[in-house]
Amino acid sequence: MSQASTELVRISGHAGTVPGAGLNREFQVCKLVDTTTCIGCKACEVACLEWNGYSFSETTFDNSYQTMPETAWNYWNLIKFDEHEREDGSMMLLMRKDQCMHCEDPGCLAACPADAAIVQYANGIVDFQEANCIGCGYCITGCPFNIPKFSPTARKVFKCTLCNDRVSQGLEPACIKACPTGCLHFGTKLEMKELAQTRADQLREHSGFPDAGVYDPPGVGGTHVIYVLHDAKNPELYGGLPKDPHIPYSVWLWKKPLKWLGNLAIVGGLAGLAWHYMRYGPKKVEPIPPDDGRRP
């Protein structure tokens, strides 16, 4: 991130190319979650709570290993467990670590009305600044992944920060540090994409998962958390991971055309009223004719 601020991209009055442009490593970060090597130990859940200073929430038993139905305002990292029967009748336990995806094109940020309550860093991390949050919940509507969660006591919305506080100090996120199987990786987006592709190729060619692939949905411009899935054609199997996530159409309509139409109508309306007053002036009270208007 710090390199990004001083890297020259354009120089005025300069003959020739920009020295040093493009020499830097890609500085966009990425978390890779390889669902095929996750064992569902929940060490990442614990590490997340510990690092971010939240105590354990009460778990909900729903006949699975899953700690609770979905992430919570004080529980940002949740492994989703799904029993899946394959075509040959064999059973698979699909386990996907669910957390903020840190979209390149974040729906939460697009929907947010509060100045600087949500920011996106150059390294790709999308971070909530709770001090600026007004608690309206529009981010909940904007998110295609059901991630931002409202705290009724704080009246503000919280979610995974991708351990921005650690990453900015050169550390990996807490969940990565805790993972015992190495199914979690952290690095640049380019590296993680390559590693994920290699793993997916391996699964396709050697492990009997012809549909294995990488989940980095283009509908939100790609994400800074990517998955390797055994079955990339059916991401919904993994705790309802959306197949083609994008900013909801209604949020787009609301924030783009409707907003500009509305603004134009208000300004045009005010101008129209001012014009009317200057053109036609006030409506005056007329005296009543003595016969109450019987005689025109």
Binding site: P248, L258, L270, P282, K283, I288
Partner: protein, 226 residues
Amino acid sequence: MSTGTVSHANAATDRNQELITRYSLGERVNHWLGGLTYIYLLMTGLAFWSPYLFWMAAVVGGGPTARFWHPWVGLVFAASLLWTFKEWRRDMQIDDSDRAWAKAIPDYIQNEDEKLPPVGRFNFGQKLFFWGMVYSLILLLLSGGVLWYTETLPWSLRFFRYAAVLVHASVAMITIGLFLIHVYMSTILEEGSFGSMVHGTVTRAWAWTFHRTWYYEVTGRSRPGQ
């Protein structure tokens, strides 16, 4: 005024200035309750609508405060409007004379009021404003309820969130249009209008000029030709 009426001028002037009650105290208090709550809702709503208008939230106590009170104040506005609905809905029925008046709207816009058919207590424009606000209120309440407790809706019902943000903003825009026209007409356009909502009274001349049928009704004078 033709010379034939000059001899009646003094008597007519006195009569012109006589006051008629147009709005009861309850109607006036309720009107201003609705008006003030609407202005609060407008300011906080516009703050959530555009970053360029977010300062409006600061004026009334800041973003989180505005977020907290907007729905509650919305309920007060709703109560005020529902009471108005109960009190005025009979006077606001749209009838044949309104349809005739509607055809002459261009004359009304051009201040050629003498070409308009006589109107009762409320003219067609006021009725449109009233019904526009009533129907908007229903939609604003439904969508506003979803936005108020948006976090409690389960993920499977997220469609309602998507619908609510669109409906709430679009309908609010409609009410802003109605509000601007209403404020313009009742403050600077139509003489005596604003005062009538403060003092509750209008002059006979005002009633005769703008609401002639109502004038005949409340003064007990027969209409021309009767």
